[in-house]
Symmetry: C3
Subunit: 152 residues, 3 copies
């Protein structure tokens, strides 16, 4: 954290970087395959998702209900979440707690092959490692807006 | 594999993750530069490509013929293949055989600077390492389709 | 370098790969947040940017002047630079000097949520590590053009 305060990035080991990327590659396949139960299980039981629109889902049951309500929206499109520019920081006191932020871009391909994109978002996650497996315990999603960004 | 069956991701070392990413960065530059001979050489001599449309190319000679036939399509566009969300698994019995899956997005920029995108695809590769260098021995390309995805 | 001449990629360690990715994740957040002072400080004091259009900025002061002049263009759009396919090579004689090349895609989201893309570019950077921190000392940006690419 202190490095970030000084306007610097925090180094991450290659192994930790690959672990986090692999975790997200797995998690994203679940949501993009509309496997909402599998996706919910990549969160902790009490995991929270703070959506860009202002709503908050607390716990896997609320997440599942929210995702089930959204499923009809994806009936005729293949959705793919793209991530980039991960910054990974292990908690100074607990190496099993990670703060990760990244860019997202969501590509939607319809049955005719036409591709469109949702507005871009930035995400801040808290991940926890339990028995060697990562889970998301908190996710805050922010829509990218024009102008200087106080969060970055 | 057993981890995947249990609905988990498989850890990969930082070195292996960087090796695979670097291999793809190199391979993709070849195809995007329309260097079809160089691209074919990133496959094993008997490498196979299973295209989303159903055709299969077996061996570098068939690949080269197929790519030569496609070249006119790229006369007026710069094509760039984007990859994301790599999952890398070394074969349990042979560390020189890797199974890798990833997302692709193909951006086409025309001479006027207009960008368009092909439908998104998911790819499953088998890579083999020979004398320290990776080659693709099998590539299966699937077009992303709406709805639950039985392959993920 | 010799490996590249022979038509091969150069291996990079997981730690170095993660370091470079993390550096760019940090640098890109600065420019996308329109934090032009912060962005300029990710370059060496005498850092150079060779733009695709032909202009060259030499040193942080010229960079800042150029970016300040461009700011009005980003008044109504959220800009996000995406990177892919990094190739990282440490200098054979100086491990604190790195040559990195990568793909870029720039997504612009307007206030209504509409996403558009700039033409794609390829970038060649020289990075230097000073007291453990990376800085860009030279950046050459090339617009991707149709046809065989002599630079790749």
């Amino acid at each position: 954290m202190s490095q970030t305060v000084r306007g610097r990035y925090t180094l991450v080991s290659g192994d930790l970087y690959a672990e986090v990327q692999t975790y997200y590659a797995w998690q994203v396949r679940r949501v993009d395959a509309l496997d909402i139960e599998g996706f919910a299980q990549t969160f902790t039981e009490d995991g929270e998702v703070w959506h860009a629109g202002g709503s908050v889902q607390r716990g896997r049951q609320e997440m599942l209900a929210g995702m089930r309500a959204s499923l009809p929206r994806y009936k005729d499109v293949a959705v793919r979440h793209w991530f980039d520019h991960l910054l990974v920081e292990a908690d100074a006191d607990d190496p099993d707690t990670l703060r990760v932020s990244y860019y997202t871009l969501v590509a939607l391909t319809d049955r005719g092959g036409k591709v469109s994109f949702q507005p871009t978002f930035s995400v801040d996650d808290v991940l926890v490692r339990r028995e060697g497996v990562l889970f998301t315990s908190k996710r805050v999603i922010r829509r990218d807006t024009p102008g200087p960004d106080p969060h970055r």
